[in-house]
Symmetry: D3
Subunit: 331 residues, 6 copies
């Protein structure tokens, strides 16, 4: 069981020796100025990542057979240089089964996955349209898909790039989509919510998360839109008498949910539910980006009257926290 | 009181002589092939507009002194050519006070203005922030502003181009904004709703609607964003001790509500409430455009499996009505 | 059997009465200036289309029950107005089975379809990769698909908008693709040619051509790229042990063949064969557009030193025929 | 009084101890490799800026209470590393009133501010239109505005980012605007010159320059265009009987002077004087950028046949100095 | 000698028979509704153009041998239809030498060409740089070039599309360029003025104006930038010891004067004089467009508070005449 | 004669002293931390480039008189720092005539230049059009042009940035152009091939390659398109009775071969051969970029299922090698 995390290390004394488990993200052979070989590693766990150096790769206490993607147990200490930290590794071996769990090694959602999954299933239960309901059930009760849906990140980096990120993103959207469906009677609630649940399902194939977050080659060549359409399409094919028009509308929603051709959707939204799906996806992503940025600013000790850094998800705009800025004044 | 409307005329026999009141939108002198002068008019009322011809402008039963913007009473009949209708005018005079009301002469919201106004005021009442509340009260209780806010269209043409259109648009946004504020605690509800109410208030100066819908010269040169900022700014100046930061945030929301520089906002949204205002404004406009287009298609007898015409407000996209398309199958 | 074609009519005397079969593209009820109803039709056959008028729709020699998409037999004559021609219809009934064939009613490729199909099959035979070959055979030997592939136009309008246009376009590309594959050994010839054959196969679902050329609703919502991927994907699923990587590459080629996101491809070409497919598709289309434009200019009697009209497929550029311009001088 | 400037330091021997006054732009606590804390500062005066290090922050000769924005007196020497210089600080205290003036601490215009101000006032005197003249007088005779107008930079960085930069920029424009007004009688000279004087006046609120050049939070949220309009608008409100149309035209010129929506102007220039203002502003900025770049190249010893570096204000274009390139040859 | 102009005809009685000379711009054979052939012509002179009809092309008083580009003498009268005028031709023959001059047949500058030419030559005389001066002399004293420079329009349509338009445009630029050169000492006055004189000289080859304004085929394929570079280049080649760097700079100015690649300049301005040339060319064109638009509005009787129509040369912007709008109030 | 190359040095022991010839690309005076001056050089030969340091520039065994562009002989050894190599120079003098050849000092085509030149000449021989043939002969038999054509790189960096790169590029295009001309009879083969040979000929003036690859000042100001047009134009002027239309078409092909205004072509392709030239140029460049990238990936040991780095010439896309990816599976 993991006791020491990357996030703790920056506070350690340089003299303190510790043992800990980490995931190996990169491993490179390098040479010192004096032409002495050493190993440079990038190690990670769910709290972040840090560089590490093995100055004596030939030391018998350092195993040779470990690779990118392995979890290792190491003994070492922290070295500081200017304002950066580095791990100096004295001993290293591969972790044995049961010593460490993947969940500890990669960043993960801060929410309870079971609770998120429960909310997703509650929405599924609430779907009145029997065809949409049996489609969702047919997909989400497949153990392989359910497991992947609970684990998958929503991206390699940037927004929701953590285990459970996909599920967290979808549940967050459902909250907004429910409200939007209430407001606009023109929207078919069941179709919209089904679209929300399935719009990014191709990401369980596009991304890999066993050894850090990355794209599969198939994911790069086909993309999660196509992979999601394929998954839904094949599931529908297995359902007797699924209405063909309903199939077309659902596939259209997945195809068009990025909202613009230049964002990789081969079709623009042409039905009200597809327009709404694009809107809730876009707006929720922006609100999450705002929230994350304010939390990051708070962690970094930014003053209430300072703007945040440039936010990638908002065209590199800087933001101001309304509440902090106003609050400063009223206190 | 008006009894015959433009929308009725296409069903009239050519032989039927009628009397009716209309607003003169254009008036031009022209010449027949045989070199005989005649007058060509565009006449309007709240149900639409139609061309009219006065073949004997010298006839003493046709007054000479009427202009663009006048309401006139005329006697005439309908003439048809191919699939178009025209009014043939036999007699014409200016309407006298009390004979006709402006409300009958221009297209108007289908909603009850008093009810819309009531909902706006109820929202205003619900604002907890005392500064925002006294600002809204200071503005909306000025009789001249209240009257204009109830009457103004939201545009010269396209979306909400009818009397009461501004109010209808704002009340529609409030419904969505309330829901969005519930969903995202990061949003300051009072600030968002105040922004919704005030974001387009400059339109009461930018547009004119006494004689058809048009822009004022000042409106063309300054725009409703600047005119709205100016109106709010001056009102705030009159309120003792209005918090300067709150003033800045409100003005920022008005300035940035178009969301992009190329749409005429000189600043991009940089606070959560400005981002939300831009989104609800954009999405509500799109949903209204979808709704209008489907209603228009229904009026024109489009089949359930036909796409609508190209919708300007949605990048000339065609749309499909989910409900009709699916419904056709289940019936 | 059809003996008189639209293209012949402009040379007819106005007094000449003729009998002929045409396809009804549109049918509208209209009104004369004197308020008399008449019918306006757009009639077509493979040589073009022309307006027609039925001035006495109540005449018992005019059947009432015919619709858009029907083939009709009519008796009438040509009327000229200024420089336009119109058909004046005296009698009209629906064509009976066997009286007329669809091939006569829509514009069709000028090439021999059997010969084009033979060349496509010869290419298929020449594929050495057994997996690609059995995929092509599995698809193209399905009678429904083979028939559609031989009949389908390549577009609703503009380039190759005629029966057999898809096949003609594909065979034309094969000629260039073969040469390009010879020139660049880096290209996998079999993969490239298979990609050429299959890249637009979704058009057999996206387009309809029974009653004039149009998009199906599914075609508008999903597009031929997705429909083609789906068709190929399902066929592969039915082939035992089809290599999954080959499947991914083929689907990638179909997805990316438009070459740019803004042209509706959700992925950019990332393998050499996908780059080559996009190039041959683009260049062949441009060369065909040039050829068509020069032929049209010749038909319209344009002088050798005149530029053509603006060519849509080449960004509304005007073109000059090298050979004619140089020839004029040397003769 | 300041005797030693940043620009002098690069020529100092490392052994030379000096005393000098600087403005603190940044102050950060850091750690050496050996985990020893030290302070890193960015110091500035009007000739530039340089890094400084305090290796013994606990030394009693180093005061603790100084912050970003303070002027300090220090004793130290220069340390060189590769081609960079650094100040090694031995003693440091805050400057006392009267010891140093802000003008010495920030880069400032090379022109005489009184002379520039005199030319601005001469132009103001030359305005024949009495309304425009009393507006300018009402604004520029307010001591707070006059002082700010004389001090403000024209930007945080890039063009005219120095004290007096705004005034220098405006006076430079006046020279070109006078000539343009002479050339085009369609232009109202008084309106154009008034627009030139006022177009950037909002920068006295948008920017702060007491402690280095930066944007105020209000400046970021509202922008100098809106802040300038507001300042002019309020001043006009205080002038009895100011012609409302003249007010509209002036505000339009300020709003539109960036010339394009994507440059942050909410309106495009629609009157001749607004077009001319945008032109002179843009062209003068480019000519100043060219001049600065050539001076910089000369300082850096670039040969006459070498192009300059990439110039940000000219789309990262490189430039060639005509006169030097030709001169080289004729000498 | 020409006595009756197109511009006069709209005021003629329909019964008035007149004789006049016109240039034939187009000539087409057409057919009446009754299938009777007639000729449709477009006739022009310097005041405008008008349609004409020859209802009896077989009449012996109508010659058969005339073509596009011929000047003809005709007898006829004016016919009116709705608000349009047409010439009804009774007799027609080709004009004989000496009967009419080309200057009467095409729109021409309103300025005195000799005076414009004099001002151009005065500028040439004022050039101090001997190489630039002898280049200008070598070009402008060639009779063929001088004649073409005095005659050529500056465009086929839009700005300065009249005989002498090129010269008028160049002389107008010289006025602004002189002032700009005075203002910015960094500019080499002689180089800038030479660039102004030569920048569009390729238009004397790109355009044809003998029979209406059009592009030559060579002009379409090569463009006036390339044709101007070629003309200047060849002239320089004939001048002994012309400094090669000066040649490069001049050619660079011609190449880059459109200021952007997408406007057809293959190079961006990289020397101060090229930047200035692009600016004066662009700004003078805009000021002329403004002036023309205001004159057109005045001719059309637009009210002082009305905006102009959309101006193509200013991105379809509408304009307001400052002076008229303000004047209305003060009178 | 050169025996030791840059590419060899990374494998050298640090203790190994060697003598070698290199080209000096840059030479800068710098200062150590201890304020000791040293020289930093960039040295190159045909296999690459490397930094070098002269720690004792005053040593009499180091000549002072050498500059950028000189070939030098040096004695020294390799020093390693982290993963980078550097040359430590002990002795240095300028190379004497005959000691080293330029071909060894710059990267050069891997093809045999005589063979490439032979293929170019064979194509020239195959041209049937006598005018095009004598033009090519007139150009390519000029010794100065032939030598430059054989030596010139095709670019300063990126694609074909090596000696002989222009010739290699042109010969590569000829292979594709021949095939394209066979496929499309509408193309004039002789004109297309002549265009291919001449399209980039201006690069022999635009680029310099005596002392590393760079642009000449004239090249920057005029560009290779203009310089090529000028060279061809002047050669044609020297040929009696060269058909003017053929001249225009050839110049048009050179002007338009970049295919888009924003890529620096002042004209778009308007004849079939110009369209084809742009296509073969663009496609061949992309295929070469793909090939180079795969070779680079192989050298860097990238796995078969890894994507390449981002490829600049393909919009920073990553690529996958079809053959390797599929091969991995079949082996």
């Amino acid at each position: 069981m993991k006791e020491i995390y990357i996030a703790d290390l920056s506070g350690f004394e340089e003299s303190r020796i510790f043992d800990a488990y980490f995931l190996v993200l990169t491993k490179q052979q390098r040479m010192t100025r004096n032409n002495k070989p050493y190993l440079n590693l990038t190690l990670a766990d769910k709290t972040g990542q840090m560089e590490a150096r093995i100055w004596e790769p030939g030391d018998p206490r350092i195993v040779r057979e470990f690779e990118r993607g392995d979890v290792v147990k190491l003994r070492g200490c922290v070295a500081r240089f200017d304002d950066r930290c580095q791990i100096k590794v004295d001993q290293l071996r591969k972790a044995q089964d049961g010593e460490a769990v993947l969940e500890d090694m990669l960043p993960a959602t801060l929410f309870d996955v079971d609770e998120l999954w429960g909310r997703l299933n509650a929405t599924m239960e609430s779907i009145a349209n029997p065809d949409l309901k049996r489609l969702l059930e047919a997909l989400l009760t497949q153990p392989e898909i359910a497991r992947a849906f609970r684990e998958a990140p929503a991206a390699r980096q940037l927004h929701h790039a953590w285990l459970g990120g996909l599920l967290e993103h979808v549940v967050s959207l459902l909250g907004l989509a429910e409200k939007v469906a209430e407001r606009y009677p023109i929207l078919d609630r069941d179709l919209l919510l089904t679209g929300v649940i399935l719009h990014d399902i191709g990401k369980i194939r596009e991304l890999t998360w066993a050894t850090g977050f990355d794209y599969s080659v198939e994911g790069v060549l086909l993309g999660h839109i196509q992979m999601g359409v394929d998954l839904v399409e094949k599931t529908i094919t297995g359902l007797p008498d699924f209405p063909p028009r309903l199939r077309t509308l659902l596939l259209h929603m997945i195809l068009s949910h990025h909202g613009k051709l230049e964002f990789g959707s081969p079709k623009l939204p042409m039905i009200p539910e597809a327009l709404a799906l694009n809107f809730v996806d876009d707006f929720d992503a922006k609100m999450q980006a705002v929230k994350s940025e304010f939390e990051k600013s708070a962690r970094e000790g930014r003053a209430a009257d300072e703007l945040t850094g440039k936010v990638w998800a908002l065209d590199n705009r800087q933001l101001l926290s309304t509440k902090e800025w106003l609050g400063e004044k009223t206190e």
